[in-house]
Subunit: 228 residues, 2 copies
């Protein structure tokens, strides 16, 4: 019984030097900050500037960035443009990625309107919902489709990622449909743990859980905490 501990990551074929999840999170933040620098026309940045801006240590920034080759130039710092390019390649967002959205309730609709995905290389390219009142409506330039058209749309847009914004009760079933359709990564907003086959990756964002954690740090006199 029980499929537990299947997350041994099957360290199968040529796993390239895996970057740790914690590091990946920071890399995202570096990229976000570099975006800002690039807009201001700044072309070079030091580990110290990065660490100050993000609340880390300079050594940590250097360790993170050193993981994929020599990028910095001693005495100068890192080239903003080159670093951004490299980071995008690591994230696989150097080319635009189509993402499926399942669930067009209030959260789903808010995500459709969200302006922040485009600049990061993502586009919500298809929306799905099975509720009778919703199928066929047009939202944010997308026609809401029934779930049965999922597999076809995944192929058409070559989608690997999906966002789940359905109620908790429906989430596990939706996740299974997504996996069958060939989706490899799920960003899950439903407050349940999703069970998915090996090879599929899930990141869950439970809004209430975030508030709860915040509440802990505040209640228990933790002077400060920064996450994200």
């Amino acid at each position: 019984m029980s499929s537990r501990r299947s997350s041994r990551s099957a360290s199968g074929p040529t796993r390239r030097n895996a970057i740790s999840p914690l590091t990946v999170r920071r890399l995202s933040l570096y990229l976000r900050f570099l975006d800002g620098l690039a807009e201001q026309g700044i072309t070079t940045v030091s580990s110290r500037q990065l660490s100050d801006a993000l609340g880390l240590t300079a050594a940590q920034v250097r360790k993170d960035l050193a993981q994929f080759g020599q990028f910095g130039r001693p005495g100068v710092g890192y080239r903003v443009a080159g670093l951004m390019e490299k980071l995008r390649a690591i994230f696989g967002t150097d080319t635009l990625r189509s993402v499926a959205l399942v669930g067009v309730g209030s959260l789903g609709r808010a995500l459709l309107r969200y302006k922040g995905f485009g600049p990061k290389g993502f586009r919500l390219s298809a929306a799905f919902d099975d509720a009778p009142g919703k199928v066929g409506r047009e939202l944010g330039g997308l026609l809401v489709q029934p779930m049965e058209q999922l597999a076809q749309a995944v192929r058409k847009h070559d989608m690997r990622l999906a966002v789940v914004a359905v109620p908790a009760e429906a989430a596990q079933q939706v996740a299974e449909q997504l996996c069958r359709a060939g989706i490899k990564g799920i960003l899950n907003f439903a407050p349940v743990k999703l069970d998915v086959p090996d090879g599929v990756c899930v990141i869950s964002v439970d809004l209430a859980v975030q508030l709860q954690q915040l509440s802990y740090f505040v209640s228990s006199g933790h002077a400060a905490c920064h996450r994200g």
Copy 2:
């Protein structure tokens, strides 16, 4: 210049045995799972059941739960009701918490409609936005107020937590207003790092960053990852 490294957490007055952030996250998930058990009328649970359900190890669950006294009974497990009570106390949500919402764009409105906060002990009790078209409107039973009424509302509802759902450009300024009004914890959805005084805690959820991380795990052949 630069206020860096201010996160030294000023380990001031009687910091009780601080629980690590990673542990806090897991405690949230335990509580969420216990909610489900309680609904099903299950009164007792073992570390093994918890770990299987959440993709952890049994030892880790026991370590986490042992941090605050002896709760489990050997040969039996943990009492669901007692554990829930204890966890809620730790999170400071044994009593209902009022939360301020700033920004009633599409995300803010989605949060107002979100059903998941109530059962966790949170209530969005006041909504703020300075956009002319929004002030005075009623959304989800709340009147949208101008920011200048923030301080007063914070006092009235004894609010310590706030949700920031405004555009990136406005976020830092809003954060400062919140801190001045006495808010101690901010759940931030704007894609910027917020600088806040010592004693205020920030948790940021950047939706695009989450997608980016997911994209990394998928692109780089990571067999599985689970977060949340």
